[in-house]
Amino acid sequence: MKHLIVFVLVAVALLLFAVCPVIATEIWIFAIFGLGLNLLLGYTGLLSFGQSTFFGSAAYVAGWLLKHYAINAFFALAIGVAVGAVSAALVGYLCVQRSGLYFIMLTFALNQLFYFIAYQWTSVTGGEDGMPGIPRPALLGIDFTDPLNYYVFIALLFLASLWVMKRIVESPLGKILQAIRENEVRAEAVGYSVPRFKLLAFVIGGAFSGLAGVLYAMLFGIVPLEAIGFVFSGNVVFATLIGGSGSLYGPIIGSIVFIWLSESVSVIWARWPLLLGVAFVIVVLFFRGGVVEAWSRFWSWQSSRPRT
């Protein structure tokens, strides 16, 4: 466990040099988003296909306040976390009462509800054009308009989020959630109120998504309509799965791979979602264990080859 944390620290530092600061920053924001989903998907066994609901809502609300009331950055982050958690509580309350396929469909349908509200409420959200002009206020005298400063800020926030998430999954609460994943009926029989804990997982996951949403809005200075769309929800599920949803670090690896690839491809070809779709299909058909497993398979194949 210790060396993994060192590994993450090194990766945080190195990534800046490997890719440009904006993409590196986006990667850590996406990783925070993925951490939130992973609590649901990896630890509680709930496949939520509506995470962008919380991400987008937080981005819109905090972005609006930043733009029109010039609130400070800490306050904006707190608002984002709160909006993420509250919207997750609302959505979660409806969703946790059903399970399996119904659950997935409900998270998606409610995502669509929020999407259409954002789409039509053009006076606030700007509709299809997005909500531009979100400032990046200075904090404690540090100027965040400098991309490097902002990157360090995000990287630190990411490490803090990772630490919090690690504490959560290792706490008794985390164990209960895993028990629900393994056997819902037994967890219920032991005396835990399964819907209540699922809802709690939803709220925590939503808070992480909300944090990521605000940081995203501040990074690009705009909340695009896509930030609350279902493709965004799908992307984070994909990133978490390619990283490997079983472990705490899966979504981090997934975000690095996903953002890096999609940012490099999207510059080349406007129809890159097509390639994304092809990637989904290929991964599902051939590399179901995610990057980590593909890597180990590649190594065993390498070492099994006769040396010449």
């Binding site: 998907l41 496949l47 296909f49 409806l94 009462q97 059903r98 399996g100 396929l101 119904y102 997935i104 469909m105 409900l106 998606f108 349908a109 409610l110 669509q112 509800l113 259409f116 509200i117 039509q120 279902f230 493709v231 799908g234 599920v237 994909f238 799965l241 949803s245 129809r271 979602p273 097509l274 994304l276 779709g277 092809v278 990637a279 989904f280 299909v281 991964v283 599902v284 058909l285 179901r288």
Partner: protein
């Protein structure tokens, strides 16, 4: 009625195959685009209306055979990712083939204009769509309830192991169910084209609606799909009359409201 048709197809696929089919909306869009292309090519609306959904059913057949078949043992997360990837491929493919801008499409001359119903004036084509959709729902119902294969299909929804233990080829059943669901999505898309025009986003918009119908009506529940389809269709029409912008959001709001009162859906199955 179109919503019911859409939900019914999805309900069949989700109910029998037990997979979340995120490509259902894309199949709907393909149906609409195929119809317009076929009409332009052969100049006959009626023949195109027959051919386009069959094309979609064949596409569904291919998807099931080449991809989904391998994924029954995998978890919902991977099935979801697969169908979601397919949806992206299909909708991007539509943009590449037909362009990103939608276009409106007129119903055939025989169905243009309106009919005076005494109390209101109603477009002929919409009446036609209601009739066709009604007939299709009825036909699906008859197929599921009155034929031998329909009975096997319903048995497949209840208990897959038991059905295959009885010596029935469950994989062929899955393929047929997927193709049938795709057919219903395709014909719903084809029928929609002259009402709303076509654009690359129509699939996604409809996908949410189909999920609402299934969530409210219950998996594999025909009556539920019809009731839920009618409910949200009427709700949307009423909201649209007073507050046009909110009409799409209204569908999901109605769903949320119904689930608040009845978390188990309209008929409370599973």
């Amino acid at each position: 009625m179109l919503y019911a048709l859409m939900g019914l197809g999805l309900s069949l696929i989700t109910g029998i195959l037990n997979i979340p089919n995120f490509a259902h909306g894309a199949l709907f869009a393909v149906g609409a685009y195929l119809l317009v292309t076929t009409v332009n090519a052969i100049g006959n609306f009626w023949l195109a209306l027959v051919l386009a959904p069959i094309g979609v059913a064949l596409l569904g057949l291919a998807i099931e055979y080449a991809g989904i078949r391998r994924l029954y043992a995998a978890g919902h997360d991977y099935q979801l990712l697969f169908t979601f990837g397919l949806a992206l491929i299909i909708s991007e493919g539509i943009i590449i083939i037909w362009g990103p801008v939608g276009f409106s499409y007129l119903p055939p001359p025989a169905l243009r204009g309106g009919v005076d119903l005494g109390f209101t004036f109603y477009p002929k084509y919409r009446l036609f769509v209601m009739g066709v959709a009604g007939l299709l729902v009825l036909a699906t119902w008859l197929f599921l309830e009155k034929t031998r294969y329909g009975a096997i299909m319903r048995a497949g929804i209840e208990n897959k192991e038991m059905v295959s233990l009885l010596g029935i080829d469950i994989h062929r059943l899955f393929t047929v169910a997927f193709a049938l669901g795709a057919y219903l999505a395709g014909i719903a898309g084809a029928l929609t084209a002259p009402i709303r025009g076509i654009n690359p986003n129509m699939g996604v918009d409809m996908l949410g609606v189909a999920f609402v119908v299934v969530a409210l009506g219950g998996l594999g529940n025909l009556l539920g799909a019809i009731a839920a389809g009618l409910l949200i269709g009427v709700a949307q029409a009423i909201v649209a009359a007073y507050w046009t912008e909110a009409s799409t959001a209204a569908i999901f709001a109605v769903m949320a409201a119904v689930l608040l009162v009845r978390p188990q859906g309209l008929f409370g199955i599973r």
